[in-house]
Amino acid sequence: MPENKNIIDTLPGDAAKAMYRAMVTIRQFEDTVYYMFLEGKLPGTVHLYQGQEAVAAGVCANLRKEDVIFSTHRADGHAIAKGVSLNACMAELFGRVTGCCKGKGGAMHLGDIDAGMPPAVAIVGGGLPMAAGCGLAFKYRKQDNVSIAFFGDGAANEGAFHETLNMAAVWKLPVIFVCENNLYGASTHVSKVMKVENVADRASAYGIPGVTVDGNNVFEVYRAAGEAVQRARMGGGPTLLECKTYRRGGHSRGDSNLYRDKKEEAEWLAKDPLVLVREKLVTGGIITEEEIKNIEEQVKAEIEKAVKFAEESPFPAKEEIFKDFWAD
């Protein structure tokens, strides 16, 4: 994974700052969600995104509003990066009627099609075929939009992965398959369930480009995703883009990662994508310490607002259970 030294220089400062801000927002959002969850304010479970922020931010910085992303059980980062409202996300986690799915979807189904994100799919691998269908629709209508399928290393062993990549390849669909390889599917290390080193090595089975990048480096992700998006928009078909990254927290809820190798953990936790990006932006003179502080404070305020919004929002009324079901 050679680092492109120039990416920050060639990147418009605004874009870099926007990515940074997205990452900060995700981090703070997730920290807050975890706190809320421990406080017993959130129902069900959470699958948090701390540590993987560079992937969502780097990929989505290449997207237009009309491009569409498909997400997973670990949806918060994708939703935020794609521009789903923080208020609506937070309210959904709280199960309120003001949530992006009116409280009917929940933590594993965040999404807002108006922001280019249908409800996240909590069946591992289950979102991929639909992402291809979305790409098919773009191609059918001759739109130069792209469809993004986010998924994990674990999902790469599902049959749906295989069928979808093959279909997308054969039909040259404008789909980017973004594998967030955080080395674990729940508690299972990737090396126990896959003999190849990289998920991207599987691209060759479908005759499409496969790229592996440092998923903790937002600029690398941004560039690689940009190339893939560009190719897809031009009719060049799909790409399998693997971003190597790491969860800072547990798989879900109170998981404390006991099954993780401590050396591996220490190494990866040292590579915090937020620290990395901040360093590079400051060193590169793109951003000042003061701007950083400002962004952090603005984001903090936004998230506090979102929590307030969620907490003050009503739960759906019981009759709501029968609504939004049949279309007519």
Partner: protein, 338 residues
């Protein structure tokens, strides 16, 4: 007016809808191959000549992939007509069919629609246990799918066109022995289910049962091929036993026309439900349970069901013939309770 088989009528229905609406397209295995079969039962034969291979889209043998692609395309505003060659293969796509298509709108809080049609041939045709199932009941149980099951060409076309225009996912279960496919795709034991198809366009609303034969002593509710067995049974009951049976084809299982059925049962006091699917947990159980609960006092006898036995479908001809309900078993059921 033209006499068409179900396969032809479906083809004309698809053709009309594809001409009318550019968003409509077909997706499936072997459906548009040049000089191919036009799908397993000729329904899409020749359509790629008119619409091209982008709109009659052949897929790899990847049921999860193709059904999921249809769902995704539908979510983005296209109106796919997907098909699997035998309904047994739906189980290969079941996550998409159960967990995704029928739940996506609800999970989105009503923001998304999934206007897709999924066509699937059912029924036993001497091909053994993995090509014989009548699978309607699995989907009947899953909230979110509408389900049509046409027994003749007229209904097939009208229901298909309605399905294509519906904003919900719709299943169309078609019976292999009713297609009327000719030549090499003909299925032995086929029944003539052709109809005179009007030149003018028509649609058949969902949830409207059809009374195929009026009667006053017993109501027989049947779908697909069982409609024909029921009609034959009714004729023989009339001519040989003086029993007047009313035969009702619900045409759609979801929504289900309880009104027409209840009116009939209130008149006859008796109900026999017939489906080719195995009995336990079949859709007939739901209808029997509802009738028994909702119009309990109008029943002169318990509701009876005539269904396949609770085994896989056997291959051997005499066994398969015994497996699939027929007019004799229907007559027996009527006579037992009469």
């Amino acid at each position: 007016m033209e006499r068409l088989t179900i396969a032809q009528a479906l083809r004309e229905g698809i053709r009309e809808e594809m001409r009318r609406d550019e968003r409509v397209f077909c997706i499936g295995e072997d459906i548009g191959v040049t000089k191919g079969f036009g799908g397993a039962f000729t329904v899409t034969l020749g359509l790629s000549d008119e619409f091209g291979h982008e709109r009659i889209l052949d897929t790899p043998i990847s049921e999860t992939g193709l059904v999921g692609a249809a769902i995704g395309a539908a979510m983005m505003g296209l109106r796919p007509i997907a098909d699997v060659q035998y309904s047994d293969f739906l189980f290969c796509a079941m996550d998409q069919v159960i967990n995704q298509a029928p739940k996506m709108r609800y999970m989105s809080g009503g923001k998304i629609t999934v206007p897709m049609v999924l066509r699937a041939p059912v029924g036993a045709t001497q091909r053994g246990a993995q090509h014989a199932q009548s699978v309607e009941s699995y989907f009947f149980h899953c909230p979110g799918w509408k389900i049509a099951c046409p027994s003749n060409a007229y209904d097939a076309k009208g229901l298909l066109k309605t399905a294509v225009r519906d904003d919900n996912p719709v299943f169309i279960f078609e019976h292999k022995k009713l297609y009327g496919a000719k030549g090499i795709r003909k299925v032995s034991g086929s029944i003539d289910a052709s109809s005179d198809i009007p030149a003018e366009e028509y649609l058949i609303p969902f949830g409207q049962a059809k009374i195929l034969r009026e009667g006053k002593d017993v109501t027989i509710l049947a779908t697909l091929r069982m409609v024909y067995e029921s009609l034959r049974a009714a004729e023989e009951l009339a001519s040989k036993k003086g029993i007047s049976a009313e035969v009702i084809d619900p045409r759609t299982l979801i929504p289900f026309d309880y009104d027409t059925l209840y009116l009939s049962v209130k008149k006859t006091g008796r109900l026999v439900i017939v489906h080719e699917d195995t009995m336990t947990g079949g859709w007939g159980a739901e209808i029997a349970a509802r009738v028994s609960a909702d119009i309990f006092d109008c029943l002169d006898a318990p509701v009876t069901r005539v269904c396949a036995p609770d085994t896989p479908a056997p291959f051997s001809t005499p066994l398969e013939e015994f497996f699939v309900p027929d007019k004799e078993k229907i007559k027996e059921a009527v006579l037992k309770k009469a």
